[in-house]
Symmetry: C2
Subunit: 209 residues, 2 copies
């Protein structure tokens, strides 16, 4: 059965997914520049052929995933109508998705086929309909809800997420978007099935029971 | 230098220190019955002469501590005026503090000397004045701000806490008192100096820089 997953979504110790002031040179906002340091450790481990909690998580990211859904704020720092259509995401010419990637936005654009198999689709359909399209595109593989917090919360509240793999970075942000805001009822369906740490982060898995 | 510490303060993965509906048979409120399971593991480890993250934390609790401050809701499930003065805390005749323990409340009572050296003092003084009394009573040793969340937050916002030793239990509560609510500015002074996990919990240390 294809699952709907959140994978390697990183929050601070105080539960913040993005600080205030998200912009081109601070994609996760103020106070968040160290939030993904665990990924550098993981990539160094993997490059050195070493195992590690973070490296395992990165390896597991793409495994069995056939489509991705993200919010428009995760796709880029622009807000409101597109001033032009030159922006094709944060990830360069060959984004790390390699499959159909649906961007939730009220500001539609033509789909963007990228190198390496990623195609960005822009949609203002209801989140349930977007998930149906993504599941179809994934052809039996899993769908990842990539972020940001608001998009994850929408899918959580709709009861559509099976598994959350969260990473807790050992930093404090103080203010910003709290992942766990207003999802109290949705969280009742989940149990923590794994919680492990290394010096870079704490890695948590929540699964719908 | 005597330090002001929060020690072994336990929150859920979603940052909740106490659920709704705190009462005699649910001191931490609904959905929180497993929040201190790590302590059972720690006590079993200690009884068996084994080391462990939780056991080390419990051993460190009393070390060098000379006075404790807590909120009235941590002292008991009653709210408002005392109906009678028979309640002497959750901890039986010999509470685990063994020193002067100040209870913040608008509803004053005479001090209660207990077995084993704990004396509960009830005070409606400003939190700064209570801390001064506690530091004096501690005679050069540390003061622990025991909880609940509201009391910890008051001392955090006042900039009076040096170190927080938190425990993150691998459970989700959904709703209740969030430890990290409205302490954004206060958290800016702290850094995460330790974050380690075992299957029972994640243990975090935050220190004022």
């Amino acid at each position: 059965m294809a699952r709907v997953r959140v994978h390697n979504f990183t929050i601070t110790l105080d539960g913040i997914a993005a600080g205030p002031g998200q912009r081109l040179d601070a994609p996760f906002g103020d106070g968040m520049d160290k939030v993904h340091d665990w990924m550098e450790v993981a990539q160094a481990d993997r490059a050195a052929g070493k195992s590690g909690l973070g490296a395992d998580r990165i390896d597991g990211y793409a495994e069995g995933v056939g489509a991705t859904i993200m919010g428009r704020n995760m796709f880029g720092p622009q807000r409101g109508a597109w001033e032009d259509e030159s922006w094709t995401g944060w990830w360069g010419d060959n984004p790390p998705y390699h499959h159909d990637t649906f961007v939730l936005t009220h500001h539609l654009r033509p789909s963007i086929p990228m190198e390496g198999g990623t195609t960005f689709h822009f949609t203002d359909e209801p989140i349930e309909a977007v998930l149906e399209r993504a599941l179809k595109a994934a052809g039996g593989r899993d769908v990842v809800i990539a972020g940001g917090a608001h998009t994850v919360q929408q899918y959580l509240r709709a009861g559509l997420i099976d598994e959350l793999n969260l990473v807790i970075a050992p930093i404090l942000a103080g203010s910003g978007e709290h992942l766990f805001d207003d999802v109290a009822n949705a969280l009742g369906a989940f149990q923590v099935t794994e919680m492990v740490s290394d010096p870079s982060a704490t890695f948590v898995r929540l699964e719908r029971q």
